[in-house]
């Protein structure tokens, strides 16, 4: 019975002796988060009921948006609480091992790789920069360009007039998009030199709910804490200057995007 109940949900790995979980939020199953230490590392884990460790049940849960939303928030809350105290290598959601002893073995077997991950994120944080096409891009050229021809077109060839107007609208939209893309390139040119590394998730062609549009720019930057202020200042300056791109900045966050999914042993 004990063995069956002892599934270990891993939130993150930190250097041993650097954090306390006393004030940490509870985990995805409402369980207290505890530390498993080995090889100079500490894994923050929650012992979760077997139904969180069954592949079949977990797949079912993942299709339950209410459960999933809670799990994403809980998982991140625990990782963020650690990140506030020490360098933190976050683990992916639903990384579950068959009991605390397996986690201890994992720390021992992968200690070199996990330590490399810690080295990479120490003193650094992830910042997310998203850029959306500005909503009210000026599109004044169409009426002006059409004005001289309007008399003829309206009386003789209304169809032609419509097509011309439509063409101009499309051209304006294309120009606005090109300008927004140019703005996005400028953002990256300014920010990349301030960051240690950058990561771009696969482009999304559609907006996520709550977003005004699909982002033209979606980049995570890994930034040294001593460069955080200049980084944020640069984003603010860009946000004030760019005419065609609306920026959104998120951070500082644990470096989810900069640790290897499966760090290889040394």
């Amino acid at each position: 019975m004990v063995a069956e109940a002892a599934a270990a949900w891993v939130y993150a790995v930190v250097p041993a002796g650097t954090v306390t979980t006393a004030d940490a939020p509870t985990g995805v199953a409402g369980e207290p988060v505890q530390l498993i230490q080995a090889a100079g590392l500490a894994a923050a884990v929650g012992v979760v009921p077997p139904d969180h460790a069954s592949e079949q049940l977990l797949r079912q849960r993942l299709q339950d948006p209410v459960w999933l939303q809670g799990a994403v928030r809980c998982h991140h809350a625990v990782v963020a609480a650690l990140f506030a105290q020490a360098p933190t290598v976050p683990f992916r959601l639903a990384t579950v091992y068959l009991g605390p002893p397996r986690v201890r073995r994992l720390l021992e077997e992968r200690s070199a790789a996990l330590r490399r991950g810690l080295d990479l994120v120490t003193g650094r944080a992830e910042w997310g920069v998203l850029g959306y096409p500005a909503a009210s891009a000026p599109a004044a050229s169409a009426p002006a360009a059409l004005e001289p021809a309007r008399g003829d077109a309206r009386t003789d060839r209304p169809g032609t007039s419509y097509l011309l107007r439509r063409q101009c609208e499309l051209a304006d939209r294309e120009r606005a998009r090109a300008a927004a893309v140019a703005d996005a390139q400028r953002v990256d040119a300014v920010l990349a030199p301030v960051a240690v590394a950058e990561h771009r998730p696969p482009a999304r062609s559609r907006a996520a709910p709550g977003e005004p549009a699909a982002p033209l720019l979606n980049t995570s930057y890994l930034v040294d804490s001593r460069h955080a202020d200049p980084f944020v200042a640069a984003v603010r300056r860009l946000a004030g200057e760019l005419a065609h791109l609306r920026l959104r900045l998120t951070g500082p966050m644990p470096a989810y995007s900069f640790v290897d999914a499966e760090p290889v042993p040394a």
């Binding site: 939303q69 992916r92 990384t95 579950v96 984003v235 946000a239 760019l242 499966e262």
Partner: protein
């Protein structure tokens, strides 16, 4: 064009956590119960949920309310 909220320390919005928590992070396999193949499915169901619970996103951190 943009305004950036100074409130960078607010909780990260769910939409910003999706790609990171579901597709980032370490996932040393061997005794794992979830595979990356599930991630697309996860995104779909979560976005469907978000569409009906937008208030969750209203307090997005460090961001500009889209208009």
């Amino acid at each position: 064009m943009s305004e950036l909220s100074p409130a960078l320390t607010e909780p990260v919005a769910l939409v910003d956590l999706l790609d990171r928590v579901l597709a980032g992070g370490v996932m040393i396999s061997g005794e794992i119960t979830l595979s990356i193949a599930d991630v697309d499915l996860v995104h779909l169901s979560l976005r469907a949920l978000l569409a009906s619970t937008r208030p969750d996103l209203a307090g997005r951190p460090g961001g500009v309310a889209p208009r």
